[in-house]
C-alpha cells in the first residue's frame, strides 16, 4: 500500500484528526446500537451469512396510525454493518496518517490491531457478544483474494524468477522444517514438562504437528504490511515475500494431511507417501489452474476493443474464478491466483486501454488496502471475542520455538543455498529474512477452522496462535525498521527504469545466452531465451490483438516510458525544459533523425534572422491552434470562420475567435483536470530530473514556442500571418495565452508549452486515451514482459 504523506499544515492536520475522531466516536456508538438492536432479535452470526432474523413482527401493527417515521433496521442490518466496518477501517487509515510521527514509529498493522481491540472492547463493554468477525469463510473468500491478486498482478517477475530456487527452498523446506520442529518439540514438552493429568498431556502428536503446520507459515499479509514501510532492497523483499506466497501450498497440504490423520487416528507409510504426492499435485495443480485462467483472460482481452469499460472486470473475474476453482479441488488457491495474475498481465496490458489499466491498478490497490485494514482490525476484535484458554507453558514454549525454529531454518538453509547462488546471502540478509518471518491472519483463520469435536484443545491453540501473531506483528514489526537502519541494510533503489537499463539488460541477456551456447551449457539464460522465443512466436500472436503482437519489447517499453513522461509533464504543470521525449514521440512518424550536434547552444538548422523566427513562430502557433479547433469542434457553429474568407470584418472575426477560444479553454480545463501539484511534489522533481538539454530544446530566448514540427493539415498561407500581424502588440499577451490552451490564463506561461505538445500528441497518436493523468509516484510495472 503506498502510504501517502499528506502535506497539510499542522493546524490542518489537527483539524482533520479531530474530525476523524468525532466520526469514529459516532461510528462506535452506532455500532453498539446496531449490535444492541440486532441482539434483541436474533443471535448474531457471521457477517457473510445472509441469514436474517426470523422475527419482524413488531412492524406489523394493525390498528395504529400510519407511521410517519419508522425504524426498520433488520432489513439493512447486514449490509449496514458491513459498510460500517469498512468505513471504520478506512477512517482509521486516514486517521493514522494525520497523526504526526505515529506512522513512522509504529507500523500500521499494529495500530489497526489495537483499534480492533478497542472496538471489540467497546462492544464487549456494552454487554453484547462480539460477533465472530474473522469467520474463515469471510476471510478466505472475501478478504484474502484481493491482497493476493494485488501481489500477484504486480509481482516483479524478473527478480522473482531469478531467485525462484531460493524462494522455493525457503518456502517448502523451511516451512516443513518449522512445522515438524515446532510440532515435535511441543509434543515433547507437553508430555514431559507437565503432569499427566494436565490438559496438555492429552494433546496428541498429530495435533501438535497440525498446530505446528498452522503456526509455521509466514503470512503474506503481515509481511506485505510491514515490509511496505521499511523499503528494503528488492532481493530481500522478494525472498521473504515470495516465500510467504509459495508456502501456501505446503501449508494446505500439511493442514489437510494432519487434519485427516488426527481424524482417522492411524498413520501409515502409504498415507505419508500420498501426502508427498499430494503436495506436488496441490502446488502444480494450483499453478496450472492459474495459468489456464490467465490465458483465458488474456485471450478475452484481445476482443475487448469495443467495450473498454468492462475490461477491468474480466481481469478481476477470471482471477477470482481461478482462486475459487483451485479451492474446489483443495489445490492451492493462492498459487493459482498468483499464477493467473502474473501470466495474464503482459498480454492484458498490451490489449487494454490506458484507462482500464489505471482502473485495474487502483481497484486492486484499493481493495487490497481495505482488506488488509479489515483483517487486522478483525484480528483485534477476534482477540477480544475469544474464547480463550490461556496456558502459560504452551504459549511461551510456542513463541520461543517459533523463533528458534525460524532462525535455525534460515541459517541452515542459507548455508546450503549459498553453494548454488551467485550473489551470496550475507549474515545481514539472513537476519532480515529470519526476522521478517511474520505470522498473521491466515494462521488464525486456519486455527479457527478446526472443529471443536476433533480438537478439544482448540482454544489453547487459538490463544497460542494469537499470541504468536501479536508477538511477531508488534515486536518484530515495530523493531524491524530501526534494526534495518542499525544494520545498514541496503535500501530499495528509487531510480526508475530508464531506457539505458532496458537496452543493456536485453543486451546482456543476448550476450550471456550466446556465451552459454558457445560453451554448450544449457543454463538459465538458454532456457529463458527459448521461452522468450516461444512466447514471441506463438503466444503473443494468439493473445495480443492486432499490431501490438509484433511489437518488440524494447519498443513497447519505450512507448510506455514516453507516455509516462508525457503524463508527468502535464501533471507537473510545466516549468521545466522540454525533455526530448515529447518531440521524439510526436515525430515518430514525421521527423528525420537529426545529426548529433553540440548541446543546447547551437541548433542544426541554419540561423534565421530574428524577425523571420518570429514569423515562423506565429505561423506555427496559429496553425496549431487551428488544427486543434478543427478536430475538437463538432458543431458547425463553433467552428472558427476560415481566415481565407474575405468580406468579413476582420475585427469582428477576431473577437469571435477570442470568445470561442476562451470557451474552449474552459472546456479543456475540465477535460484535462490536472491540478498543478505543489512545487516540491515528486512528479515535478522527477519531471525535472527527466528533462535534459538536447538538440531539440529551445533557446532560452524563445522559451514559449514549441519547436516541434507537427504535421499540420492546413497549408501555411500568408493570410494567416497577416491576420496575426493585425493583432498587434496589444494582443500579444492574449495571443500567447490563446496559442497554448491547456491552462487557464492565470497560470504561468511555461505551463502551457508541455500541455500543448500533449494536445498535439493526443490528436496525432491515440494509442491510449490520455485524459486520465494516471497513476502517480508508484513504481509498479517495470515494463518487462516475460523477461
Amino acid at each position: 500500500m503506498p502510504s501517502r504523506t499528506v502535506s497539510h499544515g499542522s493546524s490542518g492536520r489537527l483539524r482533520g484528526l479531530f474530525l476523524v475522531m468525532v466520526l469514529v466516536f459516532l461510528e462506535s456508538s452506532v455500532f453498539t446500537l446496531a449490535f444492541a438492536s440486532s441482539d434483541q432479535h436474533s443471535p448474531t452470526t457471521a457477517h457473510s451469512d445472509g441469514h436474517k432474523a426470523t422475527d419482524h413482527g413488531s412492524h406489523n401493527n394493525t390498528g395504529k396510525a400510519f407511521p410517519v417515521l419508522d425504524l426498520n433496521y433488520e432489513n439493512v442490518r447486514v449490509p449496514f454493518e458491513i459498510s460500517l466496518w469498512v468505513l471504520l477501517a478506512s477512517l482509521m487509515k486516514l486517521g493514522f496518517h494525520l497523526v504526526p510521527h505515529l506512522s513512522n514509529i509504529v507500523p500500521e498493522s499494529c495500530l489497526l490491531i489495537v483499534v480492533g481491540l478497542l472496538v471489540g472492547g467497546i462492544i464487549r463493554g456494552t454487554g453484547e457478544t462480539v460477533p465472530p468477525v474473522l469467520d474463515s469463510k469471510l476471510f478466505f473468500y472475501i478478504l484474502l483474494p484481493p491482497i493476493i491478486l494485488d501481489a500477484g498482478y504486480f509481482l516483479p517477475i524478473r527478480p522473482f524468477m531469478e531467485n525462484l530456487g531460493t524462494i522455493l527452498i525457503f518456502a517448502v523446506v523451511g516451512t516443513l522444517w518449522n512445522a515438524f520442529f515446532v510440532g515435535g518439540l511441543l509434543y515433547g514438552v507437553c508430555q514431559i514438562g507437565t503432569e499427566s493429568s494436565s490438559i496438555l498431556s492429552r494433546i496428541g502428536l498429530l495435533q501438535c504437528l497440525l498446530f505446528g503446520s498452522i503456526i509455521s507459515a509466514v503470512d503474506p499479509v503481515a509481511v506485505l504490511a510491514v515490509f511496505e514501510e521499511i523499503h528494503i532492497n528488492e532481493l530481500l523483499h522478494i525472498l521473504v515475500f515470495g516465500e510467504s506466497l509459495l508456502n501456501d501450498a505446503v501449508t494446505v497440504v500439511l493442514y489437510h494431511l494432519f487434519e485427516e490423520f488426527s481424524g482417522i487416528g492411524t498413520v501409515t507409510l502409504v498415507k505419508g507417501f500420498l501426502g508427498v504426492i499430494s503436495f506436488f499435485v496441490v502446488a502444480l495443480g494450483g499453478v496450472l489452474v492459474g495459468v489456464l485462467y490467465g490465458i483465458l483472460a488474456a485471450f478475452t482481452s484481445r476482443f475487448t476493443s469495443h467495450t473498454r469499460v468492462i475490461e477491468p472486470l474480466f481481469v478481476f473475474l477470471y482471477s477470482y474464478m481461478a482462486y475459487l476453482s483451485a479451492e474446489i479441488f483443495h489445490l492451492s488457491g493462492i498459487m493459482a491466483l498468483i499464477a493467473c495474475g502474473a501470466v495474464m498481465r503482459p498480454y492484458v496490458e498490451a490489449n487494454i486501454s490506458h484507462k482500464s489499466h489505471t482502473t485495474i491498478k487502483y481497484f486492486l490497490k484499493m481493495w487490497s488496502s481495505v482488506s488488509e485494514t479489515l483483517i487486522f482490525i478483525f484480528l483485534g476484535v477476534a482477540t477480544v471475542a475469544g474464547p480463550h484458554d490461556w496456558n502459560w507453558t504452551f504459549v511461551t514454549v510456542t513463541v520461543i520455538l517459533c523463533l528458534v525454529a525460524r532462525v535455525i531454518g534460515v541459517v541452515g538453509l542459507t548455508f546450503i543455498i549459498n553453494k548454488f547462488r551467485i550473489v551470496k546471502l550475507t549474515t545481514k540478509d539472513q537476519f532480515i529474512i529470519a526476522y521478517g518471518g511474520l505470522r498473521g491472519a491466515i494462521a488464525f483463520s486456519l486455527g479457527f477452522l478446526l472443529e471443536k469435536d476433533h480438537f478439544p484443545e482448540r482454544e489453547i491453540f487459538l490463544t497460542a496462535i494469537i499470541t504468536v501473531i501479536f508477538f511477531t506483528v508488534f515486536v518484530q514489526g515495530m523493531t524491524i525498521k530501526p534494526l534495518v537502519e542499525l544494520l545498514a541494510v541496503k535500501k530499495k533503489q528509487e531510480a526508475k527504469r530508464s531506457i539505458n537499463e532496458e537496452i543493456h539488460t536485453q543486451f546482456l541477456d543476448h550476450l550471456l545466452t550466446g556465451i552459454e551456447d558457445i560453451c554448450g551449457h544449457y543454463g538459465h539464460h538458454h532456457w529463458k531465451d527459448k521461452l522468450n522465443r516461444f512466447n514471441k512466436k506463438y503466444v503473443k500472436k494468439c493473445l495480443i490483438a492486432g499490431e501490438r503482437s509484433k511489437e518488440p519489447q524494447l519498443i513497447a517499453f519505450y512507448h510506455k516510458m514516453e507516455m509516462k513522461q508525457a503524463i508527468q509533464l502535464v501533471e507537473s504543470g510545466g516549468g521545466i525544459k522540454l525533455p526530448s521525449a515529447m518531440p521524439s514521440t510526436v515525430s515518430m512518424q514525421n521527423i528525420q533523425p537529426r545529426p548529433p550536434t553540440k548541446p543546447a547552444a547551437e541548433r542544426a538548422i541554419p540561423q534565421l534572422s530574428k524577425t523571420k523566427e518570429e514569423e515562423i513562430r506565429k505561423i506555427l502557433r496559429t496553425n496549431l491552434q487551428r488544427t486543434r479547433q478543427r478536430l475538437r469542434s463538432y458543431n458547425r457553429h463553433t467552428l472558427v470562420a476560415d481566415p481565407y474568407e474575405d468580406g468579413l470584418s476582420d475585427l469582428f472575426l477576431k473577437k469571435q475567435k477570442m470568445f470561442q477560444i476562451e470557451k474552449k479553454l474552459k472546456e479543456m480545463n475540465t477535460y484535462l483536470t490536472v491540478p498543478a501539484p505543489p512545487p516540491d511534489s515528486p512528479t515535478m522533481c522527477r519531471a525535472r530530473l527527466a528533462s535534459d538539454p538536447q538538440a531539440y530544446s529551445i533557446k532560452p530566448a524563445l522559451n514559449k514556442v514549441p519547436m516541434i514540427q507537427v504535421d499540420l493539415a492546413s497549408p501555411q498561407s500568408p493570410d494567416s500571418v497577416n491576420l496575426l500581424d493585425e493583432f498587434g502588440q496589444a494582443n500579444q499577451q492574449e495571443e500567447e495565452e490563446q496559442g497554448l490552451m491547456m491552462k487557464p490564463p492565470s497560470r504561468p506561461r511555461e505551463g502551457k508549452k508541455p500541455g500543448e505538445e500533449d494536445e498535439a500528441k493526443d490528436q496525432q497518436k491515440l494509442m491510449r486515451c490520455l485524459s486520465d493523468p494516471g497513476p502517480s509516484a508508484d513504481e509498479d510495472e517495470d515494463g518487462a514482459f516475460l523477461p
Binding site: 521527423i591 548541446p599 538536447q694
Partner: protein
C-alpha cells in the same frame, strides 16, 4: 569427447590456464572437450565458421559480435588459450581473489573487465566511445526489421541523452558504467555458472 581430440591437453597447460583465468580443473577439461567438438578441422584452432555452426548462435541477435569478440585484432583463428581467456570474463566474481595478489593485474573476471568486455561489444571501432551510429546498429540488431529508422533514431537519441554527461553525444566507458548502474549489478551477478562436474 576426449578421444576425438587430436591433441590432448597437457597438465602444465591446464595449470597455466588455471592461473591465468581462474577456472577450475574440471571446468577447463570440460571446456576443452567443447572446444574440440567445435573444432571440425581438428587443427587446434577455431575459425569463425566453427562458431557460426552453433545453431543457437545463428539466431542470436548479437551472434556475430560475440564471435568477433573471441578473435583478437585482425586474426581469423583462435586457439584454446584465447578461447578460455575470453570465457574467463564470465566467471563469477570472487572477492577473496583480489586480496590474494594485490600487485598482480586485475583478474579477467573483475567487474571492470566484464563491463569493458560488454562495452567493446558496442564499440566496434574501438575509439572508447559509443557513438550514435554504433548504438543504432546494436538497436537494429536487437529490435528486428519492422521498426522504422526514425523510431530507432529517437530511441538512440534518448539513450545517449540519458547517459551522456559531458555533452559529446557519445557514451564513454564511464558514462556507460553510470548509466547502466542497476544493470551493473546484473552483469556482476547474472553470470554464466559453469557447474562443476
Amino acid at each position: 569427447m576426449g578421444s576425438r581430440a587430436s591433441r590432448l591437453l597437457r597438465e602444465e597447460e591446464i595449470e597455466e590456464i588455471k592461473k591465468e583465468t581462474g577456472f577450475s580443473h574440471s571446468q577447463i577439461t570440460r571446456l576443452y572437450s567443447r572446444f574440440t567438438s567445435l573444432d571440425k578441422g581438428e587443427n587446434g584452432t577455431l575459425s569463425r565458421e566453427d562458431f557460426q555452426r552453433i545453431p543457437e548462435l545463428a539466431i542470436n541477435p548479437l551472434g556475430d559480435r560475440i564471435i568477433n569478440a573471441f578473435f583478437p585484432e585482425g586474426e581469423d583463428q583462435v586457439n584454446f588459450r584465447g578461447f578460455m581467456r575470453t570465457l574467463a570474463h564470465f566467471r563469477p566474481i570472487e572477492d577473496n581473489e583480489k586480496n590474494k595478489n594485490p600487485s598482480a593485474t586485475e583478474p579477467l573476471n573483475s567487474r571492470t573487465n566484464k563491463l569493458l568486455f560488454a562495452f567493446r561489444l558496442y564499440d566496434l571501432d574501438r575509439d572508447d566511445k559509443i557513438s550514435r551510429d554504433e548504438l543504432l546498429q546494436v538497436l537494429r540488431m536487437m529490435v528486428g526489421v519492422n521498426i522504422s529508422d526514425e523510431q530507432l533514431g529517437s530511441i538512440a537519441d534518448r539513450t545517449i541523452q540519458e547517459a551522456d554527461t559531458n555533452g559529446d553525444s557519445c557514451i564513454s566507458f564511464n558514462e556507460f558504467i553510470k548509466a547502466s548502474f542497476v544493470v551493473n549489478i546484473h552483469i556482476c551477478t547474472v553470470v554464466l555458472v559453469l557447474v562443476n562436474i
